[in-house]
């Protein structure tokens, strides 16, 4: 399949109504895989909405919802090899879940505990969520450099929003990816909104994908709400990187159905009509529709999935709510490999202060 | 420089054609000597040598075009000049090349050498004219408090300035304390009848003679004890330390060899010593090495004493003031003059018997 074409248009297999626009590649013709992708998106959404609700009841910190963008995270998570390194921004719940970062662990991060970044298993080299915009793209370029220096058959995959593509780190990183032929895949979640700044005023370029031209790397668009398109594109790009054939920029076109974070109120800057229109193209319903068409889904399985998802999420929430605060000494013990003497005094002070406070209760 | 490049010929001219080489590889050149003639769009220009040297190679033949900044020729034997700086001007090394000496961390872990006091306390001490170095702190970690300073000030006000001990007095304070700490001192006392002594008898000389005799008889009291090694050195020579009181304090000059010299010689020696002490011209070596000491405090006052044994010596004889005493006599009662004697000894190495016999010998000699 040829990816880069001009003029750019997003690659797509399944349209908004759930109809096939292009024949699916071999791997995606397996109903089990499609069902698995579907289940993953539903679980992600269930989790996502539950966390938003927790925040509204004061049991969770500020949280960035991925509502409407589950296909991007799921497609990436399923296409990445176990040995690839994933470098997220902060809307990658679906990918993290696919790579073994449990729902409870993810809540631990958003709930304000560094131990939420302590990943194990497949994700043990993955970077944690990144708040300073676009800086993670540079980290991914560094990871890819290390992979290249060591001649390994793996790659780094990094995500960012379309707003991040305005920042220096983004350009510097894809520029390096081009000149050093780095095994890095940059997936831009173009969900049309960077808080209140719309895509139209973010950049004068017609597409994000074409910024790849300036960097000398391949770039193209996919329909970010078509999990099959995302999956296939990421497979293509990661395989290309494993083969030492260089970097790829994938612009996944989507829409941010939720607020930027729970601290944002999107109704201040966008219309209901626009959001309603966007809901018609959302990813979960379209795959469900396609699954029904190929007789790979039904109402009873839907109900079972909904209740299963709710149950998994609830278990995770209960476990999260029971988590004790980490010991105050943890705040000091992981700053350096060995705690310098000057900090030991401070650590003891913090410990003493906590002990006194506890006794005072 | 290694490579001489075509210099800027001015007026925006970027290139020139080589017209004629005036030198060839192997030629020595001097600064200013014409190397090559080149033709620009405007004129023929002679390029002079920028330095003395020998030409290694020429780049370009006659008729070739060469641009500003391109190498014209190479000098022999030069290092490629490398400024390695890109901006500015960097000072280069002198030839110094020692191995650097330094200490990692602190030079010492000792306790503070300065008395601990906050600046406010120091200022208070200054104001009250109290020397902070002489105050013992009673605060935490021996810190000097304002009470300490005020107390010291009041003391000085009420009782006058305390003078720090110096010189001889300071030595005495230190030595006496040390002696007291080390020595196991016992003193035995007795009186000897000196009625028979003539007027003007030289008491000190009599005591010197007596001590010499006693040392010969009881040599253990003429010795040095090294308590760290538990060793006793019996000394044949008797060098008698004689305590001398001066306005400056206690001096103990040494009268050497009292058992072998004649009395006249000893007397002259003693006179000389006294004079030197008075004039403060006595050298330190004349005050060291005593093997036993005599303290004739009786010249002033006092009968019996407990003189201090000064290590490494093991004995000291104190002679008190001669006093009249009524004694019973074969013919009735009589008043005789007696001299009290106090012999202190270090009981770690001298026995009571040895000490008593020594005293007996002294008394016998004095009674002659």
């Amino acid at each position: 399949m040829q990816y880069t074409t001009e003029p750019y248009h997003p690659h797509q297999f399944i349209d908004a109504e759930g109809a096939l626009t292009m024949s699916l590649p071999q791997a995606l013709q397996e109903p089990e895989l499609l069902q698995s992708l579907y289940r993953h998106m539903v679980l992600t959404r269930t989790f996502d909405q539950r966390v938003v609700a927790l925040q509204r009841t004061g049991q969770m910190g500020t949280y960035a919802s991925c509502l409407g963008q589950e296909a991007i995270g799921t497609g990436i998570g399923y296409a990445l090899a176990d040995t690839d390194v994933f470098v997220p921004y902060y809307r990658d719940q679906a990918t993290q879940l696919a790579r073994g970062v449990s729902l409870q662990k993810q809540m631990q991060y958003w709930g304000g505990d560094e131990w939420g970044n302590y990943f194990e298993g497949i994700a043990h080299e993955d970077f944690p969520n990144c708040v300073p915009i676009a800086t993670q793209v540079t980290h991914a370029a560094g990871i890819a450099s290390a992979i290249k220096i060591r001649n390994q058959k793996r790659c780094a995959l990094v995500t960012c929003g379309e707003g991040a593509t305005s920042r220096g780190d983004f350009y510097e990183s894809i520029n390096l990816a081009g000149v050093w032929q780095l095994p890095v895949v940059v997936v831009v979640n173009n969900n049309q909104w960077a808080i209140s700044v719309s895509r139209q005023i973010q950049t004068g370029a017609n597409t994000i994908a074409q910024k790849a031209v300036a960097a000398g790397i391949e770039g193209f668009q996919v329909d970010g709400n078509d999990v099959c398109a995302v999956f296939d594109a990421v497979q293509y790009a990661t395989k290309k990187a494993h083969q030492g054939k260089g970097a790829t920029l994938i612009e996944a076109v989507s829409y941010r159905l939720g607020d930027h974070t729970t601290a944002d109120d999107a109704t201040r800057y966008r219309s209901h009509e626009e959001v309603n229109e966007a809901w018609k193209k959302e990813p979960v319903k379209r795959l469900q529709s396609y699954l029904h068409q190929i007789d790979a889904w039904d109402e009873s399985r839907e109900q079972a999935l909904i209740s299963e998802s709710k149950k998994s999420v609830e278990e995770a929430v209960q476990a999260y709510l029971k988590l004790p605060k980490q010991p105050v000494t943890d705040l000091f013990d992981y700053l350096y490999e060995e705690l310098p003497p000057a900090l030991l005094t401070q650590k003891n002070k913090a410990l003493a202060k906590q002990t006194t406070a506890q006794r005072g209760e | 420089m290694k490579y001489f490049k075509l210099p800027d010929l001015g007026e925006g001219l970027q290139e020139a054609e080589i017209v004629e080489w005036h030198i060839k590889p192997g030629d020595p050149v001097e600064t200013g000597q014409t190397l090559v003639s080149v033709e620009t769009a405007k004129a023929i220009v002679d390029i002079p040598a920028p330095q003395d040297g020998i030409i290694a190679a020429c780049f370009g033949k006659e008729g070739d075009l060469i641009h500003t900044g391109e190498p014209l020729l190479e000098f022999q034997g030069e290092e490629q000049e490398d400024s390695g700086t890109v901006v500015g001007k960097m000072e280069t090394s002198q030839a110094r090349s020692e191995r650097e000496q330094f200490i990692i961390g602190s030079a010492y872990k000792a306790a503070p050498a300065v008395p601990l006091a906050t600046p406010a306390i120091r200022a208070l001490a200054k104001r009250l004219k109290v020397d902070i170095n002489h105050i013992t702190g009673t605060g935490n970690h021996h810190m000097i408090t304002s009470d300490d300073v005020e107390r010291a000030a009041r003391l000085t006000e009420d009782l006058g300035e305390a003078t720090p001990l110096r010189g001889v007095r300071r030595s005495m304070a230190r030595n006496m304390a040390k002696a007291h700490a080390e020595v196991v001192k016992v003193t035995i006392q007795d009186d000897v009848d000196v009625e028979h002594w003539q007027q003007g008898e030289d008491i000190t000389m009599r005591l010197v003679r007596a001590m010499g005799r006693a040392c010969t008889q009881e040599p253990t009291l003429n010795a040095w004890y090294d308590n760290e090694n538990d060793s006793l050195r019996l000394i044949e020579k008797v060098d008698l330390g004689i305590a001398v009181d001066t306005p400056d304090g206690l001096f103990v000059p040494v009268l050497r060899n009292i058992t072998t010299r004649t009395q006249d010689d000893l007397r002259d020696g003693l006179t000389r010593i006294r004079a030197d002490v008075k004039k403060r011209t006595i050298p330190p070596r004349e005050m060291s090495g005593a093997t036993i000491t005599l303290s004739n405090y009786g010249t002033i006052a006092g009968r019996y004493g407990n003189p201090v044994v000064m290590p490494p010596m093991v004995a000291i004889l104190g002679a008190g003031k001669i006093y009249p005493c009524v004694i019973s006599h074969a013919d009735g009662f009589a008043s005789h003059r007696f001299m009290p004697l106090s012999l202190s000894f270090d009981h770690r190495v001298v026995t009571g018997g040895e000490a008593a016999r020594f005293l007996r010998a002294v008394m016998d000699d004095l009674a002659e």
């Binding site: 300073p132 220096i149 390096l176 003497p341 | 280069t92 200490i103 050498a113 006091a117 906050t118």
Partner: protein, 351 residues
């Protein structure tokens, strides 16, 4: 006169650490030796930056490395300081040991985001799962009559950041030893090289691969009347001032801080408890410079031993002037001597 020795003089015949052959080197040559040594010892050590590979670095710090270790370990990056720091974080997280060069401290500010937000925090925020063993090297400080922005002394910016180490050598010996230790350290180090003394002094060192400890000060000269504390190029002026003071009957102790952060207060306190007086000397601007931290710490820990307030000799709170007036800005030997004598006069120990 040639200003650097060619790499052949510095190469060893069999790559083994050598504590027998003395190399008489300047600071920049010592840094080069240390880089060669570190790259031999650990294949994960890589060097990156602008002009570091083919050109050997604009100050020749990295000369000979590319020829010896190849272009996969010695990399010329595009002109992008943010990138240099950011990819170092990524490489370090993959257990490479990147030694990244920023050409001048004036251009280091673009790296602040990655150093502060990421390098300093990676170990902490992943609770030790990932860590960042990188070194960011830069020539720093003034005194070479350079154009503007090439004479910065803003080490305080980095010193303030928990999770970073800031190390500043003041001699070829300490440059060699401290750089080796910085490269071996499992956490990020900002290694600032005082360019004014890059070539000023030659010392005898052995390429024995032995590092000097970080997190400790160095006592360069013992004394009993006053403690002079400094780092970087001004150590030289400080030592000269101590010699001048000696001639005037004042015995000065000179301490090289070396690791600015974390600070070894024990050594500084021991010295001040002995002398009761101190002067801290920095080239950087006075306000919120490292001297302020040192003096605050001395006040907390050694107040009662101080006989006079600790004094500071520092640059003015102005940008480094253009070079014609550079010497009016930089502290000199006279400034240090005067500050020392004034301190002793305050306590009354000298009149």
């Amino acid at each position: 006169m040639g200003m650097h020795e060619s790499p052949d003089n510095l190469k060893l015949s069999n790559d083994a650490p050598d504590n027998v052959t003395a190399h008489i080197v300047t600071m920049i040559e010592a840094i080069n030796l240390a880089l060669h040594r570190a790259m031999i010892a650990d294949e994960n050590v890589v060097v990156l930056g602008e002009d570091v590979a083919n050109n050997g670095g604009v100050f020749r710090a990295t000369i000979g490395l590319k020829d010896r270790f190849g272009c996969k370990r010695v990399m010329d990056t595009p002109l992008a300081e943010t990138l240099i720091a950011g990819i170092s974080v990524g490489m370090a997280a993959q257990n490479l040991r990147p030694v990244a060069e920023i050409q001048f401290m004036g251009f280091i500010y673009a790296t602040l985001e990655h150093m502060v937000s990421h390098a300093a925090r990676l170990r902490n925020r992943t609770r030790g799962r990932l860590h960042c063993p990188m070194v960011l090297r830069a020539p720093y400080g003034g005194g070479i009559h350079a154009p503007e922005h090439h004479s910065e002394s803003t080490e305080a910016l980095f010193a303030h950041i928990p999770g970073l180490r800031v190390v500043i050598p003041s001699s070829p010996t300490r440059a060699y030893g401290l750089l080796l230790s910085a490269i071996e350290d499992p956490d990020p180090v900002v290694f600032l090289e005082p360019k004014r003394i890059y070539r000023m002094v030659k010392q005898e060192i052995y390429d024995d691969g032995v590092g000097l400890p970080l997190d400790t000060c160095y006592t360069l000269r013992q004394g009993s009347d006053i403690t002079l504390i400094s780092w970087g190029a001004l150590i030289h002026e400080t030592l000269q001032a101590a010699a001048t003071l000696e001639q005037q009957g004042i015995s000065a102790e000179v301490i090289d801080v070396a690791t600015i952060s974390p600070l070894d207060t024990d050594t500084l306190v021991s010295s001040v408890e002995k002398t009761g007086h101190c002067v801290v000397i920095q080239e950087a601007a006075r306000h919120c410079g490292v001297a302020a931290e040192i003096i605050a710490s001395l006040n907390e820990l050694a107040f009662n031993a101080l006989k006079a307030p600790p004094a500071r000799v520092a640059g003015y709170d102005i940008p480094m002037p253009y070079f014609r007036r550079e010497d009016d800005y930089l502290p000199n030997v006279g400034d240090i001597v005067n500050a020392a004598k004034a301190t002793l006069m305050t306590s009354g120990e000298r009149s």
